[in-house]
Symmetry: C2
Subunit: 485 residues, 2 copies
């Protein structure tokens, strides 16, 4: 790639910018299979850091991983009426195996409820087996027509939790526990602060009685649904006959939940922090947190700066994910371009002048600004102060994202003309009273592309909300609107 | 499960014993999809420990993870002639997506060469991009007719490495590097010491110029092919036009390799160490290395033993994967039965008498013996001595497995009658001279079910081998025979 090729500016064409950042950062690539992407090593390394953090949180709260079959007999998907209605149109069907036509086609899992519950039914006998808290890291396939890297792909990677409980209250508590874990992960690791709340009835997961979601605001002020946690009631237990014996000897259906986040989070990460220079990564999710670029002209200088660079590297190791870029085949400018594009938070330049003066030159990204900040620090202070700088940068990114979200949150909107004006000009999260009618949302969607994202949880709900819906009817609840990916 | 239900003895019916151990240890279960298993939490936790160890070794040697599509257009599979011949008969075909028939069926990957190379072709431009060292953790599907948990399933989990190199020597060095990593992992983590060597021409991976393999001897003296590393020459580079520009500006095909191990390793682990009490796990791969079972009758005792148990647990944590089984709903005997079946290496019993005397009772599995060894140690010594005991047990398992392999290795066999006698009585690895003819192997296989497992690498080759093949013709090489899974 040409070193001087600038990205399309975010302000000019956000969608083009997004695609270019994904390419330049080498996060993902297109594949010869329609709608399927390749997750390239840099993208996959970020996903591995996400997985590790989430997996730890799941395990700390008593969940265990398992692995269920990729294929679901078609008739199984049909057992839960709403579930099949929701997923059947997007399925990929295996009709032939080993050269022969199958008696019954197999669905490539779009989600695993319909294969997990008939199996878990055997694992659950008595109240002693509950709660059963299972998670799976897997690939799933949904036959989407319009796809975009990470945001919507035919195949994607995700985790799907599936749990069974003795009571309705326990299932609801689990659903909320996971929603809290997702929010914490998005805030503390991704520096992408989401709203949390409940979906409307018609926007629930197919087969759920209640769907909670995290919705994060991207830099173009569109929302991204970034994680969902479903209370499934006894719907799947009834469909797949999952019962347990109570302490009193009765046989009862279990109460179940399911919940998931996917590689879509990588798209959210790009659109939350990226700038016109390329990807910006929060340090906790940066596979390389700091890159050292030695600069030399003569061979003598080369030895000197490489020595100083290697010293700093070994001082940082263990504490910081550091890379020394000592490639002879690229000049420093080309290296800067590559690591900026890949979102490495800190670059340390070490040249002959730095060595002589016992210093290093620190160049860093700054949240929200498409420029670099450069300063010089003493080499002796570098190990401690660079590790500290990474923590500060993590916090700065979160602060900036919260600030941006709040700047683009509009509370107590009652006038539909004002609503339309906000959407047409800047966009963001618009809080209004809501009549609760689906037709009302349909009209707004037709007019503005905005939809009800959620009924906000108490952490996000306004102190009070307008008495009237934007359609003029009586409001029964507060909702948050936005245009969404 | 009834507490007193004994497993079938290994000596009586090894195959039945295997299936029972897999069930009792809750490693895997059957699923409603023919040939597909479920990996249950205990089995999956072992797989995660295996993954972590292997992944570290791959990364330490410069490999990066990525993720490629599950689906391969059927025509892609056909581009490499031998490859399609090998894999086409076992493919699962997706013919419908999103409710419509596809123009071209998609193959659910049986292995990923045919989708990885057309994609990696775009990533490789010049010699600077080489070597390209990629690994993928994924699920694959091969339409097997006869399946057994872990050993042969329709879908399985594995890692598949795919690398590209500038020279034939580099590709061969990579193939051998990985073979060495596999061997090291099997020895040091699984305590399952394999033979390594080269496969015969007709037993190569479909499309490879050379296939190296690890073959381990199970307790029934059948061999298990446990990992393979393939030098693909330029076969796939030619089929998918993968070229790079040399330093001199020429365009050359790359040299490539591929290599993999799968959840089959879990089957190997069971069959290497399990005994008539159930699973036996080498400590390094035991999700729970030590279980503490408190024993009490009165409430006062309960408080006392739980206190002592919790103290030991906290002393061990960080160093040992420890579980305190303080369930009120099970008696100690039921707990012993459960953890023995699951292969937990050490059980520590703490009763009122132990608390009084400042001691703990240590019960451990012993390699190769289906019994337990019990001794009493001072509570003050327990943290250090139990951690040390785990290391000793790891080594004992490896030593026992090497001893068993050597006891069942027969070198320099020349007489076919003797060969048949060994196979019919005890079995094992039989080293002979070999004429190199496929028909010779076919005859032996028809007579005895034994096949040529490999041409041993120098670490395993005999100092000299017989001049004659067991068929009487001139021998051109030494080979190792065994009946194999």
């Amino acid at each position: 790639m040409a070193e001087d090729k600038a990205l399309t500016a975010r302000s000019e064409d956000f969608s083009a910018w997004y695609n270019e950042v994904v390419q330049r950062a080498e996060l993902a690539g297109y594949s010869p299979v329609r709608g399927c992407m390749v997750i390239r090593p840099h993208g996959y390394a970020i996903w591995e850091l996400m997985q590790a953090a989430l997996d730890r949180m799941f395990k700390e709260t008593g969940h265990q991983n398992a692995y269920f079959p990729l294929f679901i007999p078609q008739s199984f998907l049909q057992r839960e009426a709403e579930h099949v209605e929701g997923f059947a149109p997007e399925t990929a069907l295996v009709t032939h195996g080993g050269g022969k036509q199958l008696e019954e086609p197999l669905v490539v899992r779009p989600t695993s409820e319909a294969i997990i519950w008939p199996i878990m039914a055997d694992w659950i006998q008595s109240y002693r087996d509950l709660p059963m808290l299972i998670n799976q890291w897997a690939n799933v396939v949904r036959w989407e027509m319009r796809t975009r890297p990470f945001l919507r792909t035919l195949e994607f990677l995700w985790q799907e939790g599936h749990t069974a409980h003795a009571t309705e209250e326990d299932a609801e508590a689990e659903t909320l526990l996971i929603l809290g874990i997702y929010r914490k992960f998005m805030e503390e690791w991704m520096a992408m602060p989401p709203l949390t709340g409940v979906k409307t009835e018609w926007d629930r997961f197919a087969g759920a009685v209640r769907t909670y979601a995290c919705e994060a605001l991207m830099q173009d002020n569109w929302a991204l649904q970034a994680g969902t946690s479903h209370n499934l009631g006894q719907n799947f237990a009834r469909a797949f006959d999952v019962k347990y014996q109570t302490e009193e000897g009765e046989h009862e259906y279990v109460w179940s939940t399911s919940w998931g986040v996917s590689t879509r989070l990588l798209g959210g990460l790009v659109m939350t922090h990226g700038d016109d220079l390329g990807l910006v990564l929060p340090p906790r999710l940066a596979p390389i947190q700091l890159v050292i670029v030695p600069i030399w002209k003569s061979d003598r200088q080369r030895t000197e700066v490489l020595e100083a660079s290697a010293r700093l590297k070994s001082q940082l190791e263990g504490n910081v994910r550091v890379r020394l870029d000592d490639r002879d085949t690229l000049n420093p400018g080309a290296k800067y371009y590559e690591w900026e594009g890949k979102g490495v938070p800190i670059r340390v330049e070490i040249g002959p002048n730095d060595v002589e003066k016992g210093q290093v030159t620190v160049v860093r990204r700054f949240a929200g600004e498409a420029k670099l900040r450069k300063r010089v620090i003493a080499a002796s202070e570098a190990p401690v102060s660079l590790a500290k700088l990474l923590e500060e940068m993590q916090q700065e990114l979160l602060d900036a994202a919260i600030r941006r979200r709040e700047e683009h949150s509009y509370r107590g909107v009652t006038d539909y003309e004002e609503f339309k004006k906000i959407i047409a000009s800047v966009g963001g999260f618009i809080y209004t009273g809501y009549c609760g009618a689906k037709e009302c949302e349909t009209r707004v969607k037709d007019d503005t592309k905005a939809t009800v994202r959620l009924i906000p949880n108490e952490d996000f709900a306004s102190e009070s909300y307008p008495e009237r819906c934007i359609c003029g009817r009586k409001a029964v609840q507060e909702v948050v609107w936005a245009r969404a990916y």
